[in-house]
Subunit: 200 residues, 2 copies
């Protein structure tokens, strides 16, 4: 950054978050921010209470910050997973996400994280996507959204939503290109050897 | 399992493990074992002391078991990451890995996890791979190994090694097919929406 200002990306954690929903983007973005600090971006993880967070399929992650102690973020990333369902009725969480999104210049989601953004009222009239099995629920939660059933991720300027689980890796590479350069995103892709060859 | 015996896969954790090296396979294998318990497989994470484990790029994971309390595993998975380098001179860790590998019917690695297997003497004369930037080091650590510089992963029967970081996802899908069926691996791939489209 020519003006010396550092910018921040926040990964939002919550109970029963999908493991790869969160860690796919984390790997991409932390590879970027840790190997290329001169680009001016930092990454942190945050949850409401900062306590060890049990994920959807048995892993436990320790967030770096509780929300009250976390730095302000320019970009927020809301992962999905089974834990999004109770959040749809959790006004405290929805208020927090609304506030984070308002403070940020870019709001992003992976998988069913989009359901939470929808319930928070952040997807009105927007082109969006989510996990393939939650497309109908997303349309139901936000009838004005234009739900894309094919895209790997949708960039709508200050909002980027991705399809299910592993799609967060593709979206995060796009974010590196969007926030910095395509060349840097290619370097990160090379570093994490992301030349996928699904064997089945 | 027709005889009712359950089998176990152990993910080995250690300080400065690569986040996606570990969690890519975790997502694939935990999706399998949690959604299809009737297949007879369980998955757990284990480290030497069971304490919260700081990963290579800032995340902290809490293992489910310390090694002395962990169940015996039929399959072991050793991830890579910067934390593998000190392990190459850590006789206690190398002894543990040798013992786990002897008890198991299948030993697997992601990324630079192969360096640790090499140093433990488990790759003699075997076809193997690792992260693209560690291929020469792997050949140096185990000159009798046949280091493949192109493969996404190498299945050599009771040993499967993968290329760097994200290659663990491909390898884990192969493991589901190998340990159960191709059809089940396809179901897991569908569930995690692993239809990669690298955008850069």
């Amino acid at each position: 950054m020519s003006d010396g200002t550092r910018r921040r990306i926040a990964l939002i954690l919550f109970p029963n978050v999908g493991e790869l929903d969160a860690i796919g983007p984390w790997e991409v973005l932390s590879h970027w921010t840790s190997r290329y600090p001169e680009d001016g971006w930092d990454l942190h993880s945050v949850s409401r209470d900062g306590a060890p967070t049990p994920c959807a399929k048995g892993l436990t992650i320790v967030p770096q910050y509780a929300r009250d102690a976390a730095p302000t973020a320019d970009v927020i990333l809301h992962p999905g997973g089974q834990g999004t369902r109770p959040l749809l009725a959790d006004e405290d969480h929805l208020d927090w996400v609304r506030r984070l999104s308002k403070e940020a210049t870019l709001t992003t989601s992976v998988c069913t994280g989009a359901l939470v953004l929808a319930k928070a009222g952040l997807l009105r009239g927007r082109p969006v996507t989510t996990h393939r099995t939650s497309l109908d629920l997303l349309a139901e939660l936000e009838p004005t959204a234009r739900v894309d059933r094919e895209a790997r991720f949708i960039d709508d300027g200050d909002l980027v939503t991705s399809a299910g689980v592993s799609a967060g890796i593709d979206m995060a590479l796009h974010l590196v290109a969007k926030l910095h350069t395509v060349e840097r995103a290619r370097q990160v892709r090379y570093g994490i050897q992301y030349d996928p060859e699904p064997p089945v």
